[in-house]
Symmetry: C2
Subunit: 243 residues, 2 copies
């Protein structure tokens, strides 16, 4: 783990790091010392580890909960080079969708493929970050919607350190079997008029989660219209399950 | 409006009243003076105005929000005499369901019939309670699930004083058209494994609400298993919309 830069604003310290070839960012309170809960945020498709959404959410987890928060760039995103094979597959899927094939299963298959790479990358990020004395081996939460859900479902299913997860804006297609291995509390976000994820696919993914404590929050609006009240709810959700 | 009794415990004053033939209960903080938000709670089927659920919720609205809360017995419930015609219809519906008819539309039709009586009764209760100097003409909220949803949907659609409503554990059947006249913010509660309301009927009722700000909260469990966290959420919901 190699630290690239360290800055601070309004009480939140931000450290950019590289872990092998994976660029990441770690947020903690200024002067944080000792073990604390850690939330891993998975960014959306075409976004990156410091996109406005993850950044705003990370600042809230730090300032309101005193958590550590970590995010890394997904392959082909942010500060990582384009990924030739994934680009080729994405183009191919686009062509197949234009030729009339159903988009949902194509996207789900693509996410499952990428997750084979990101699950070990994210586990390595947890290892590295939790080895720092101001993060430590506390409870872990995961927050990710859209691409962050497609990659998050296999991650949460595979990683026993994750004690609670916010997921959503994703559909069942290829991930229902994986979702059925998730047993930790989940808050699942669904946009009622999602133009990218069919409503039935989102409901089916919520249904597939094996968690005894799971809650579905559905709101009107399109894929990108997640209401701000849901971020308030995410903060409360982790406060209930990680503290 | 005739007051029958007045008691107080732990800072919450409870007044039992009769309004014509309708028995009701009003909760306020001890020493409440001046106008405040008012929540009307609609109780469930076979329950009554002071059942444990409404009572606990009313106490929270009073102690945490300083609201006034009112509940009245539905026809044939609590301190009201049995209602011969409704009893006859309920028995008839039961027989039709046992003979194979779908229960949902029968229940919905029954609720629509009863609502013709309860909507004016509840509006009269608002009139009477808001005429009291320690309640006054503040914003009004409605909370009701199950029977409280079946009767609540027509009430919320008809009563412009209601600014926000928590509804749920009810299905679309006969009320979708009425629901499409509701435009105030709604928090809609659905039990994912509801043995009385088919999941699709609950989702259809949420879908039918015309409110731009509506949110669906779905949780695992049966009709009676509403998690306590949803009551916390109801308190926050009214705090956002009535304060």
């Amino acid at each position: 783990m190699r630290f690239i830069s360290e800055t601070s604003s309004d009480g939140v310290r931000e450290r950019i790091f590289h872990l092998g070839e994976v660029p990441g960012v770690l947020w903690t309170a200024d002067g944080a010392a000792g073990t604390r809960p850690l939330v891993l945020i998975g960014h959306g498709g075409g976004r990156h580890k410091r996109a406005p959404g993850p950044l705003a959410l990370a600042r809230r987890f730090v300032t309101e909960c005193d958590y550590a928060v970590v995010a890394v760039d997904a392959p082909g995103h942010g500060d990582r080079p384009r990924h030739v094979e994934y680009d080729r597959l994405a183009t191919e899927n686009q062509a197949r969708a234009e030729a009339g094939e159903e988009l949902g299963p194509l996207i789900a298959g693509f996410h499952a493929l990428v997750a084979r790479q990101t699950v070990p990358e994210w586990r390595a990020a947890l290892d590295a970050v939790q080895a720092l004395p101001y993060v430590g081996p506390g409870p872990v939460g995961y927050w990710g919607v859209s691409l962050g859900c497609g990659l998050g479902v296999p991650f949460v299913a595979a990683e026993p350190r994750v004690r609670a997860a916010v997921l959503g804006l994703g559909g069942a297609s290829a991930s229902a079997e994986v979702a059925s291995r998730i047993t930790v509390p989940v808050e699942f976000l669904l946009q009622w008029d999602d133009e990218r994820v069919p409503r039935a696919a989102g409901l089916a993914l919520f249904d597939a989660l094996a968690s005894a404590r799971k809650t579905l929050h559905a709101n009107p609006g399109k894929h990108g219209d997640l209401p701000a009240t849901e971020l308030d709810s995410s903060v409360r959700f982790f406060t209930r399950h990680l503290n």
